[in-house]
């Protein structure tokens, strides 16, 4: 980028030199030519200004998107649930809000994968995983993300994030992954 703008400055310097040489070489030209030259210079300056403004806008936009992406990265892609529950607590909502803020800025689709811990029966857990994924999808939809962008799929207890039969493992496995 820096090189590109250096090249622009260079071009600008050269064009000024050429303009001067041209003016000197055509000392006998009439005022119409001089006016045209002034106009061209002004246009060039405006163009330059516009480019700088665009650049600033782009930079600001980039910074804003980066902030949104950073917020999503900080929030993480996983939200957790209580046993046999699909309710979203305030911590979960904060995570989802970060994703929603970013999703509002693009048109991408999201796959919401619902999971359960190993306790309880497998097909009931499959239903429970779906209920969790749908709870997340509903929250996103209510907050302005179009339904067609939200895909839910439940893996029940079939794909634990953490092995073992401890409360620590179970609490990590009752989750929705945002992908």
């Amino acid at each position: 980028m820096k090189h590109f703008f250096d090249a622009v400055s260079m071009t600008k310097a050269l064009s000024v030199i050429f303009a001067v040489l041209f003016t000197v070489g055509c000392a006998s030209t009439d005022t119409t030519d001089a006016d045209a030259q002034a106009e061209a210079d002004a246009a060039e300056a405006r163009k330059q200004q516009q480019m700088e403004a665009d650049k600033a806008r782009m930079e600001a936009e980039k910074a804003r998107m980066k902030a949104l992406e950073d917020a999503v990265a900080a929030a993480g892609n996983v939200v957790y649930f209580d046993f046999d529950k699909s309710t979203l607590n305030s911590a979960t909502r904060r995570v989802l809000d970060a994703h929603i803020a970013l999703l509002r800025e693009n048109n991408g689709s999201v796959r919401l994968e619902g999971h359960a811990d190993e306790r309880g029966t497998r097909e009931y857990n499959m239903a429970l995983g779906e209920r969790r994924a749908k709870a997340v999808a509903d929250y996103m939809a209510v907050n302005g993300i179009a339904r067609y962008r939200l895909e839910t799929v439940s893996y029940g207890e079939e794909r634990p994030a953490m092995a073992g039969s401890s409360e620590a493992a179970w609490s990590k496995n009752r989750r929705v992954e945002i992908k």
């Binding site: 309880g120 029966t121 097909e123 009931y124 439940s154 039969s165």
Partner: protein, 428 residues
Amino acid sequence: MMRQLILLLLLVAGSARAELVIEITQGRDNPTSIAVVPFAWSGWGSAPEDVAGVISDDLERSGQFAPVKLANMLSLPTREADVYFRDWRATDVEYLLIGRVAGGSGMTIEWELFDVFRQAKVLSGRESGSAEELRMLGHRISDDVYRQLTGIRGAFATRILYVTANQRFDAPSTYQLTVADADGARSEVIYESNEPILSPTWAPDGRTIAYVSFETSRPAVFLHDLDTGIREQLTDFRGLNGAPAFSPDGNSLALTLSKDGSPDIYVLDLGSRELRRVTRHYAIDTEPAWMPDGRSLLFTSDRGGRPQIYRVDIATGKTERVTFDGPWNARASLAADGRTLVMVQQKDNQFHIAVQDLQGGRVQTLTSTTLDESPSVAPNGSMLLYATKLGDRGILAAVSVDGGVKFMLPSRDGDVREPAWSPFLGDP
């Protein structure tokens, strides 16, 4: 009271393919003493299978028999003419089974069962098949002996399905669907995937199975013909496609779909492929199981706040709650007697297999480990297989429907889960 047995039975006898080894953990108080004398072998080389061992292990696993050890046999007759009842009476043996295996282009087994106290032959038979079927021929003899001595049809010559998961966190996990003999021997992986496989179930013909596979990155119900290996994707609805259960006549499949919102029970006509919605509720309705008359279904629903078992009449949609014992009951299935309901029950944060008598209402807890699930009853209603945990490893275990007999089938590797006991195979 129950006698705690510490018997380790190696049922797999040199078969490297077999994965599951049975350990009997609890037997009955007064099992019937029976001597199964090693069968004579006539044919090339040595006998390809210890048929008497197969039968002896079957009978022992039922918990109702105590087979005599080879070292305690005073004689080893293989023909009726060689039987001296005094040899057996002296050691309080009640029954004696002898036989002969003849190998050639096929295998033929002739056998005789004697009542030692009456000094009489009570049953004899002849089985024939290929060398690969030799174990199954042994299981059929076990079935005949069991029926003769208990009055109950044996379920040894049956098969089981189960899922083995090798969960990996650094590489793709693998999921295998395996079919094996009811004793765990002759196992064969019939489908393998990096995506989850669950809910395997048998059609009443004992040849077709259904299960849920995530191979399309979403759950879908598949039919699989065990004879031909041909698979067919049966459903591809949005949302859940799960919990398949064949109707008693084999013509329909009950299943759970959430295509219309929340999970509900549907019945798919396998001929016309017509789909009928059976339940209609915003709660979770899942895990359908057929009543023997094929007219109503048991299912799990949390419409009352927590999961309980309900029964719905397919034609009228009339629904009634079936379980009231404890705050959490799920995954009902019905034993062949039509009245013993088997389910998973949560009490004090532990999950056990329990049975409820549909007529009397009495509930009995059968298992004592903490994460028991997926019960599947043998076609004769005597035992049920279920999945539990041994340490951090998923294993299969079995318990008699009266709770008296228990055994485990630990695996060499992977988490074994979701056993499904086949119907009776072949003629009674």
